[in-house]
Amino acid sequence: MQSKEAHQDKVLKEVTEQEYKYGFSSDIEMEQFPKGLNEDIIRKISAARNEPDWVLEFRLKSYRAWVKMEMPEWAHLQIPEIDFNDLIYYSKPKPKKKLESLDEVDPEILEVYNKLGIPLDEQKALANVAVDAVLDSVSVKTTFQKELKERGIIFCPISDAVRDYPELVKEYLGSVVPYSDNYYAALNSAVFTDGSFVYIPKGVKSPMELSSYFRINSAGTGQFERTLVIVEEGGYVSYLEGCTAPQRDENQLHAAVVELIAKKDAEIKYSTVQNWYPGNKDGKGGIFNFVTKRGICKGNHSKISWTQVETGSAITWKYPSTILKGDHSIAEFYSVAVTNNHQQADTGTKMIHIGKNTKSTIISKGISAGKSQNSYRGLVDVKRSAINSRNYSVCDSLLMGDQCGAHTFPYIDVENKSSVVEHEATTSKISENQLFYLQQRGLDEESAINMIVNGYAKEVLNQLPMEFAVEAQKLLEISLEGSVG
């Protein structure tokens, strides 16, 4: 027994002390603004991007609201003090010249992606994925524009959308996440620099999965993407968001806002694999990820599905939510959140049922190892008007090691008699019986744990598109295999 424990300790040590594989930084020339945040900086950002006045107005309005707000403290997180005046709010690679083909992309940038194993080249084309690569703040290269254009699909950086489709952006920007929604959303609304804009016209189903890889590169740069996805009646889109970031000792702030709008009969599938630098094993460095993601099922019979695999970031504060406004609309939330070492995560979802016969499903799997803290926090709010609504939530937590914590904070409000809401949650460690069973069959301990964890997360991983599923599985293996205490 003793030797088994010793072995387990060894395996645990090996795995949890593994260094972040994707830690490197590339030296690309950056055009930067001075540190700090004030109305001047915001005007400068807006001017540098040639934005129309209404965008500047939106930014200033948000900034003024943000100044009056306080950092939220209700989450189960220990957030070190952030000096918002010590951050650079805008940086972009210096434009060299207009790019015609992939060969003309800065080889250093290409190298970054290659190191990460992200194929921004022919491989991706074969994989039928259009990539909107974001390096720091400005999109560098967008592929597949043409094919999408033929179908009337707009997929471009939000800065282009502001220029080319101002009516659309003006109508929907801030319509799901108002500028005054919360502290980080207000900050983002004031200084957002880039992100994706997706528009699917009526009746069009996107022929390919749209994907955007976000990267944080320049030291001390906060990245504030703004993503807006609009799907008109009967349309469909699957959007992938994936991220890895180079290793830095300095904490980096990331406060994105994502807004999804699904009209009648429309469907949006939004998948995220997040693998930003989580800090080293002593809890130094790592990215602060404070994200506001929200979708609205505006029309009847619409559907929004969130899937996330969260393995990175030092601190995660993220609640992809759905407002089920249309009758018979459906929302889903699938999440695997892994924390290790000193990582902290407070993540979950909100399901706001307004329309009749609306349905929502929440499947959340938390895995904590090392000295990390992993919390699920979710709200299911069934309003009086949402008759015959249905929610089913499952939140399971797996603990690996006796130094970590796993917490569940569900909030359930029901205001009518015809709805059914069910919530269940369990917390336990890896079953020793299962482990014993698998080891009996000749699997070594690491593979056995790997298998159990993969099985545990399968329900969520199955929801990911193919390309992501593979990546996510790899991430889980790196983060977890063998981590039993």
């Binding site: 690996m400 569940t408 359930i412 409000d413 205001e415 008699k417 336990s428």
Partner: protein, 446 residues
């Protein structure tokens, strides 16, 4: 809020009356609580645990703040006698009422008024009093400590077992009044008692009540506490219960919340020993504009303990329910088994429930789960029963009654089961009025 202002004014003007009847160690706690209350006041809506409770509605009217500071010598209470009870005592408007104000029973049990106990057994009271409250300091703790006049004191010595106590907690003010009751219950090693408490009121007066109880269970001690709350629809009781649970000790509570404008029961159990067992049951049945809150916190500090929370509620008309249950498993509490379940039925579209089953776990070798459901009567089952020639209303009542079974079946005193079933049936039928007498006697009277 009107009441808050009245209390502050009263505290400032009546220092001597409030503080002079207590020994110094309590006086210190009281004056600090008075200052804190003046500073903090009532819990605000911003407090997550109070957001769902309409406190303002209740606190914005006039209650006489000092009624329970004046001891009415005319206060008498004849408790009804439920069979198999060793002793029946009463708390009337916050005062302990019995033949003797403080007595020592032949088996060594000390029972009586807390105020009298602070004089007679200052050392004993000092060792325990305010220990748990000071650690937590929840809403209304300050008010209670600042203003209470009296309450129950109970001391059960080592190895004394099999004692059954009936407590009638009676609200019977002649004018609308604020009443604060403070209780201290100490069980020494291997002691065991059953307590049955009924919260009753008169028909027509508003009472705003804070009821605080600190309960100490030494190793192997066992407490079974049953509480029936049936007060008029003008009155509110805010009860805070604190339990310290030692090794192999056994805490069991079963609270049946039947009537009242606002009933709030907060229970905080801290398991400081190993291999302890905590079972908390609750049933709340609310209609009209009633509000029922249950706020539960079980903290596992040491290894090998078991805890179980089971709360069920039925909400009719415009009633509101709030359940917040939390299990905390600390780092050293390996091999913990902790469970939590909250089930609700809403009968109308105006009724509301807010359920928050929380888990906070820092140890890995544990098995914890929670569940929460909200729904309505099963239509298929209703149809099935009606097919058998039973009217819709009766079929509904049958189902609701069956829903409550899980809590009633958990009652461990056989003599209590039938009266409880009867009460619940009557309540579901809308025929349970505020009792002028002990509600457990209702069965024999009708």
């Amino acid at each position: 809020m009107k009441l808050q202002d009245n209390i502050i004014e009263y505290i400032n003007e009546n220092q001597a009356l409030l503080n002079d009847s207590f020994p110094d160690f309590i006086k210190d706690i009281r004056t600090k609580a008075q200052q804190d209350f003046i500073k903090k006041g009532f819990p605000s809506q911003k407090n997550e645990k109070w957001r769902r409770t309409k406190l303002k509605n209740i606190a914005d009217q006039y209650y006489h703040p000092g009624i329970n500071m004046i001891f009415d010598k005319e206060l008498k209470w004849e408790s009804c006698v439920v069979p198999e009870y060793d002793r029946a005592v009463a708390l009337v408007n916050g005062h302990y009422v019995a033949e003797k104000i403080l007595e020592v029973l032949p088996n060594g049990i000390v029972i009586g008024s807390l105020q009298a106990a602070t004089e007679k057994y200052p050392d004993l009271v000092k060792r325990y009093f305010n220990k748990l409250v000071a650690q937590q300091n929840k809403a209304f703790d300050d008010l209670n400590a600042a203003m209470f006049a009296d309450g129950l004191f109970l001391y059960v010595p080592k190895n004394v077992q099999g004692f059954r106590l009936q407590i009638t907690h009676r609200l019977d003010a002649k004018i609308d009044a604020l009443i604060n009751v403070r209780n201290l219950i100490i069980l020494e090693e291997n002691a065991q008692i059953d307590m049955v408490q009924c919260d009753d009121s008169n028909q027509h007066r508003s009472h705003f009540v804070t009821f605080n109880a600190e309960v100490f269970l030494a190793d192997k001690a066992k407490l079974n506490w049953y509480k029936y709350q049936n007060i008029n629809n003008l009155s509110a009781i805010f009860s805070n219960h604190y339990y310290e649970v030692g090794s192999q000790a056994n805490l069991y509570t079963n609270f049946i919340e039947l009537n009242g404008k606002t009933l709030r029961n907060e229970q905080f159990a801290q398991i400081i020993g190993v291999a302890a067992k905590v079972d908390l049951y609750g049933l709340y049945l609310a209609d009209k504009l009633q509000q029922v809150d249950n706020v539960i916190f079980v903290s596992h500090d040491k290894e090998g303990s078991y805890s179980n929370q089971k709360f069920k509620g039925i909400l009719d008309d415009s009633a509101r329910g709030f359940f917040n249950g939390q299990i905390l498993v600390k780092k050293d509490a390996q091999q913990t088994n902790a469970f939590q379940k909250n089930d609700n039925i809403l009968l109308t579209d105006k009724a509301r429930i807010s359920s928050q089953p929380f888990l906070e776990i820092y140890a890995d070798d544990v098995s914890c789960s929670h569940g929460s459901t909200t729904g309505q009567i099963d239509e298929d089952a209703l149809f099935y029963i009606r097919q058998r020639g039973i009217s819709k209303r009766d079929a509904q009542l049958l189902q609701l009654y069956a829903f409550t079974g899980e809590i009633i079946d958990a009652i461990k005193i056989p003599e209590l089961i039938e009266p409880t079933k009867d009460l619940v049936k009557k309540r579901l039928n809308g025929k349970l009025d505020v009792c002028e007498d002990c509600i457990l006697q209702c069965q024999t009277r009708t």
